[in-house]
């Protein structure tokens, strides 16, 4: 199999997640080349051909233009698969490329099976095996599903001629993440609240357990979106990535974006009523119980 990987850059720097793509190429035993809109001064450490479009000419975010460059590269490379990360860049760009190439896109790939792909569904609770009906396929791969491959090498750079800047979506700048009141990355213990906590009034129960364990309070996305806990406490791909000695997930079902931000924790305890919740997949201990009963009982014994 021959594949074209779509690397990612932000602010002239290679994103580390690009090396999950090379990991996927290794898992698929595929011959790979890489397409990359980025800076010529910070290239991904990969071997093989690297199709480089200079971000200075292409713009930081210009989906129509990035799509056209990828379509051009596909014509040159003739790959069986065009592989993106299942990230904000991949979500935005992969379907545009699939539509332009008139081929199937298979999203959120977590594994490879004979003649097809294993993908997540139902909020990560279930899996589907999907087979494309088109000869070529566009894939987005789930972060963390394939090992990082940073073996390096020096790429053979193929510079793509800077296109005439055009496009209907005009990039107008970044808005930095809110200043973090707390740095969860340094915490040894994190006790996080999820939707299963029920309501804002119950958050102090979780905070009390965090305090009793000498740790910090974390939160899953729905709890932050609902305004129960500030964003600076959010754990996951759109919040902070953490790896404490102990992570206690209270009423968190385990959306993939949350798992990606905390699964490197040394020891994971999950408290959930739902025995099938995806958090159980990565927890060292899953307590099947009502968080509102269990958490105060645990706090009382500490």
């Amino acid at each position: 199999m021959k594949i074209l990987l779509i690397g990612e850059s932000r602010d002239n720097k290679v994103l580390e997640t690009t090396y999950e793509l090379t990991g996927f190429a290794g898992a698929a035993a595929a011959e790979s080349s890489l397409f990359f809109v980025g800076s010529p001064h910070d290239l991904p450490a990969v071997s093989g051909r690297l199709y480089l479009a200079d971000v200075a000419a292409c713009g930081e975010y210009n989906p129509d233009l990035h799509r056209d460059l990828i379509v051009r590269t596909v014509a040159e490379e003739n790959p069986d698969a065009v592989v993106f990360l299942h990230s904000s860049y991949g979500w935005d760009l992969a379907p545009r490329v699939a539509a332009a190439l008139k081929v199937a896109q298979i999203s959120e790939v977590v594994g490879l099976v004979e003649g097809g792909f294993e993908v997540g569904c139902c909020n990560g609770k279930m899996r589907r095996t999907v087979k494309p009906a088109t000869a070529r396929v566009v894939l987005t791969i789930q972060s963390g599903a394939f090992p990082v491959n940073k073996e390096g090498g020096s790429p053979q750079v193929v510079a793509l001629a800077p296109p005439v800047a055009s496009g209907r979506v005009i990039f107008a700048g970044y808005e930095a993440a809110e200043a973090r009141a707390i740095d969860l990355g340094r915490a040894e213990v994190i006790v996080s609240a999820g939707r299963g906590v029920g309501k804002k009034d119950n958050i102090p129960l979780i905070a009390a357990l965090a305090k009793a364990l000498g740790g910090e309070l974390g939160a899953s996305r729905p709890v932050v979106d609902a305004g129960w806990i500030e964003h600076s406490h959010q754990v996951g791909t759109t919040g902070q990535s953490v790896a404490p000695k102990l992570y206690v997930a209270c009423g968190i079902s385990g959306a993939i974006q949350h798992l990606a931000g905390m699964k490197k924790s040394d020891f994971i305890v999950a408290i959930n009523k739902d025995k099938d919740a995806p958090i159980g997949e990565i927890a060292d201990v899953l307590i099947v119980a009502d968080v509102l009963q269990f958490v105060p009982a645990l706090t009382a014994k500490l």
């Binding site: 904000s88 992969a94 332009a100 088109t134 209907r168 990039f171 791909t237 899953l286």
Partner: protein, 258 residues
């Protein structure tokens, strides 16, 4: 100005799922249904835009699926959509994203919507493709994963959620499609008077055959739970005993209890 919002009805994701007899999607028996969470944000933003524009604008809600999806559409109408379009398809669950998008495109092509809202993905399939594919099919501008939206004089300013709390600001001219991320706004609860009013709003029914004629580009061959990785301990029982068991484990396996 014409606005379209596309919604999907999904099962309660807290449910236990098991494969249907064909083994390619879940069995629908005993499932409770609701509007896809991402689409609630899309409906809210569409209603807000409709309110901003006032008289002379129209907001249409579209859904594809069996008769049960009308319930989700009624909620959207009670939130403030003007009328509904129900694309009747008892086999919508096995359509691939390209087919769902082609159906919306076939409906919307001659309607000249100025702004189309969708959720960024569905909670059950999660392909995050349909909105972008619709924009591609209609050849209109598109921005995804919105956590901020404003409209003025034919230009949308959108805030896109990237990774690690970073956001990207983009501007696009209508006609345009945007896909909505959780947290974009605070979806309203329909009030009783609005629920009553919604009962009188029109929902047009269109058979899927009138809009879709293309085959799928990919096929699901199996639906199953993830392989258990093993290693993790599952504890069940009385809370007091569970607490003691957990404390024992934490003392043995971690250095955090002193």
């Amino acid at each position: 100005m014409k606005i379209l919002v596309c919604i999907k009805q999904v099962p309660d994701l807290e449910s236990r799922f098991k494969a249907n007899s064909a083994g390619v999607w879940f069995d629908e028996t005993d499932l409770a249904w609701r509007m896809n969470e991402y689409d609630e944000y899309a409906v809210e933003q569409a209603v807000k835009l409709r309110e901003q524009l006032g008289e002379g604008s129209e907001l249409v809600v579209l859904s594809i699926g069996p008769d049960r999806v009308v319930e989700a559409m009624k909620k959207a109408l009670a939130m403030g959509c003007d009328r509904g379009v129900h694309v009747q398809d008892s086999a919508a669950a096995v359509k691939d994203p390209a087919q769902i998008a082609a159906t919306v495109v076939a409906y919307a092509r001659d309607q000249h919507f100025d702004v189309i809202f969708t959720g960024m993905q569905s909670q059950d399939r999660g392909s995050a493709q349909v909105g972008v594919l619709v924009a591609a099919g209609l050849d209109i501008a598109c921005a995804t994963t919105l956590v901020g939206f404003s409209y003025s004089d034919g230009t949308i300013t959108a805030k896109r959620e990237l990774e690690g709390g970073l956001k990207g600001i983009v501007k696009l001219k209508t006609p345009a499609l945007v896909t909505c991320q959780l947290g974009l706004n605070v979806p309203r609860y329909p009030t009783l008077p609005n629920i009553m009013k919604a009962k009188k709003k029109d929902i047009a029914a269109l058979p899927i055959e009138s809009l879709l004629s293309t085959p799928p580009l990919a096929a699901t061959v199996s639906f199953h739970p993830p392989a258990k990785k093993g290693g993790g301990i599952v504890l069940e029982g009385e809370v007091g005993i569970l607490v003691d068991q957990l404390l024992g484990i934490l003392k043995e396996k971690t250095a955090v209890l002193r």
